[in-house]
């Protein structure tokens, strides 16, 4: 089996937002919509203050709460773990937005561009009216992954088969791959480091892992 997942090394993320920009450039999402976000989190009180960066987005859960509530079956889960939205079925009821604990879903009511009515070249190329009035989210660049696999490439290893956010990450903080393959880079990262998953207590089984320290014995 294959289970695609994203691994974010919090020690490496510098909050540059390149992943966010790459996603927006490649997928043409409108202003306010960030399928790949990087949260800027401050903790502590002066003078002991820390600033950390946390990439987030759809967690492609094992048990997606969005899928359960979707009345139209637009939200689906593939055998490789990627959660998708069939835009032609979605009715835009937003029930999935209310169910996603990761704030990963978006809906816009009209076509808008970053600089008013004039679309930038990539916006004009990627603008899709089918995405207005329906819910959208990160799909781990499923089309890119599928095309790469069809060419015999390995997602997470070969650039052309890897989601653009992970591919563009300047510090190597974002890594993508198959966690069911013990030899994959992401499996090794998870074995050698300490990690957590967000809101795991909700039983969603997120496919997004956050590394925060080395394994004690390593």
């Amino acid at each position: 089996m294959t289970r695609y997942a994203m691994v974010a090394d919090l020690r490496r993320c510098v909050g540059c937002q390149t992943c966010t920009a790459a996603c927006k450039e490649t997928r043409g999402t409108p202003p306010g919509v960030q399928w790949r976000r990087v949260l800027d989190i401050e903790t502590g009180e002066y003078p002991d203050v820390r600033r950390s960066f946390m990439p987030t987005g759809c967690q492609h859960c094992d048990e997606p709460p969005c899928l359960e509530v979707c009345p139209s079956t637009a939200t689906r889960k593939r055998g490789d773990g990627i959660v998708t939205i069939e835009e032609t079925l979605c009715i835009g009821c937003s029930a999935c937005i209310m169910a996603c604990p990761y704030d990963a879903r978006y809906m816009v009511d009209e076509t808008v561009f970053a600089f008013g009515e004039q679309a930038m070249p990539h916006e004009g190329r990627l603008a899709d009216k089918a995405r207005v009035g329906v819910v959208t989210k990160c799909d781990f660049c499923a089309g890119r992954v599928d095309a790469g696999v069809a060419r015999g490439l390995v997602p997470g290893v070969d650039a052309a088969a890897t989601p653009v956010c992970a591919q563009s990450c300047i510090s190597g903080a974002l890594q993508f791959g198959d966690i069911d393959d013990p030899a994959s880079p992401v499996s090794k990262l998870l074995a050698e480091n300490r990690w957590f998953r967000m809101h795991e207590e909700l039983g969603t089984g997120p496919g997004f892992y956050y590394l925060w320290d080395q394994e004690a014995a390593a």
């Binding site: 090394d9 919090l10 020690r11 490496r12 993320c13 949260l39 989190i41 401050e42 903790t43 502590g44 820390r50 950390s52 946390m54 987030t56 709460p65 899928l67 359960e68 509530v69 979707c70 009345p71 139209s72 079956t73 637009a74 079925l89 979605c90 009715i91 835009g92 009821c93 937003s94 029930a95 937005i97 209310m98 169910a99 996603c100 604990p101 990761y102 704030d103 809906m107 009511d109 207005v132 009035g133 329906v134 819910v135 190597g172 990262l189 050698e192 480091n193 300490r194 957590f196 967000m198 809101h199 909700l202 969603t204 956050y210 590394l211 925060w212 320290d213 080395q214 390593a218």
Partner: protein, 286 residues
């Protein structure tokens, strides 16, 4: 370097996708199904008597108005029939499936005066109300909605609103219906208090909890108490039907306000949580 054990959280944000129209569906659905249930209760009080068709018609109108409002809110209204595609797990689908038979059965009961059809309508109304409660319960991004105690709260609200509307619309002359409305109003208060305590215990977002201390919420709480006192006075023979109808109107209006706040004001998202701070300063393995 040691890591911080306390999880860091991004600020909780209020949901902005479900507005007054979505609240209107919960208001109309609750009041409408409550009216049908109250009409069935009235028939139990007067065996063999005529059923209160006007209450059924008013209930149908409320349910239909609620559904119309939510239809106006969804992004693709002309695909609305897709709502029926996922009965396996979606409470929204189940709500849609129950709505048609509820309206049809209520209309048939009102037209025919059949007790069996009225009983069927009451069962469907209870199912409809339960579906609405479970829609909120399934919204795991919103702690104020996903708490298990939201289910009894929404059920009690529907019954309190419906029985309150029943008094307002002409049922205030029945001591049994006044007693039902009083019991439902008190049950709503108990459910609301249990819900509040549940949210406190589950560490819901501070912005959600702050609504319990908001002056508007306090005023509504006082009005709900006033509604109960008016109904109690009517039952004791003070003020008569007008007193009961006033109590019913207040119980109805405060229930609507409670839902409006619950859906559009107190619904803060769970927000992101960084359970562990990154331990920097030593080589990360690659």
């Amino acid at each position: 370097m040691t890591h911080m054990a306390n999880p860091a959280a991004a600020a909780a944000r209020r949901q902005r996708h479900w507005d007054w129209r979505a609240a209107g569906n919960f208001i109309g659905g609750g009041t409408g199904s409550g009216l049908v249930l109250a009409a069935a209760f009235a028939a139990l009080l007067e065996p063999g008597g005529p059923i209160r068709a006007w209450a059924l018609l008013a209930g149908m109108a409320c349910v239909a108005a609620g559904l119309s409002l939510v239809w106006l809110e969804i992004g693709k209204p002309w695909r609305a029939l897709n709502v029926f595609f996922h009965p396996q797990t979606s409470w929204m689908t189940r709500e849609g499936i129950v709505a048609g038979p509820l309206l049809a059965c209520s209309a048939a009961a009102a037209a025919s005066g059949s007790g069996a059809l009225l009983a069927g309508a009451a069962l469907l109304a209870a199912a409809y109300l339960y579906c609405q409660a479970r829609i909120l319960r399934a919204s795991r991004a919103i702690p104020a909605w996903s708490h298990p105690r939201v289910v009894p709260l929404i059920l009690a609200c529907g019954l309190a609103e419906g029985s309150g509307a029943m008094l307002l619309l002409g049922g205030a002359d029945s001591a049994g219906l006044v007693a039902l409305a009083l019991a439902a109003t008190l049950a709503r208060e108990a459910a609301r208090e249990a819900y509040r305590r549940g949210l406190l215990a589950s560490a819901a977002p501070a912005q959600t909890l702050a609504w319990f201390a908001h002056p508007l919420t306090r005023a509504l709480q006082g009005l709900r108490l006033l509604a109960a006192l008016l109904m109690l006075a009517a039952l004791a023979g003070v003020g008569g039907a007008a007193m009961a109808a006033t109590g019913g109107a207040i119980a109805l209006a405060t229930g609507w306000a409670l839902k409006l706040i619950l859906i559009t004001r107190a619904a803060y998202r769970r927000g992101a949580q960084m359970l562990q701070q990154p331990v920097r300063g030593r080589a990360a393995r690659r």
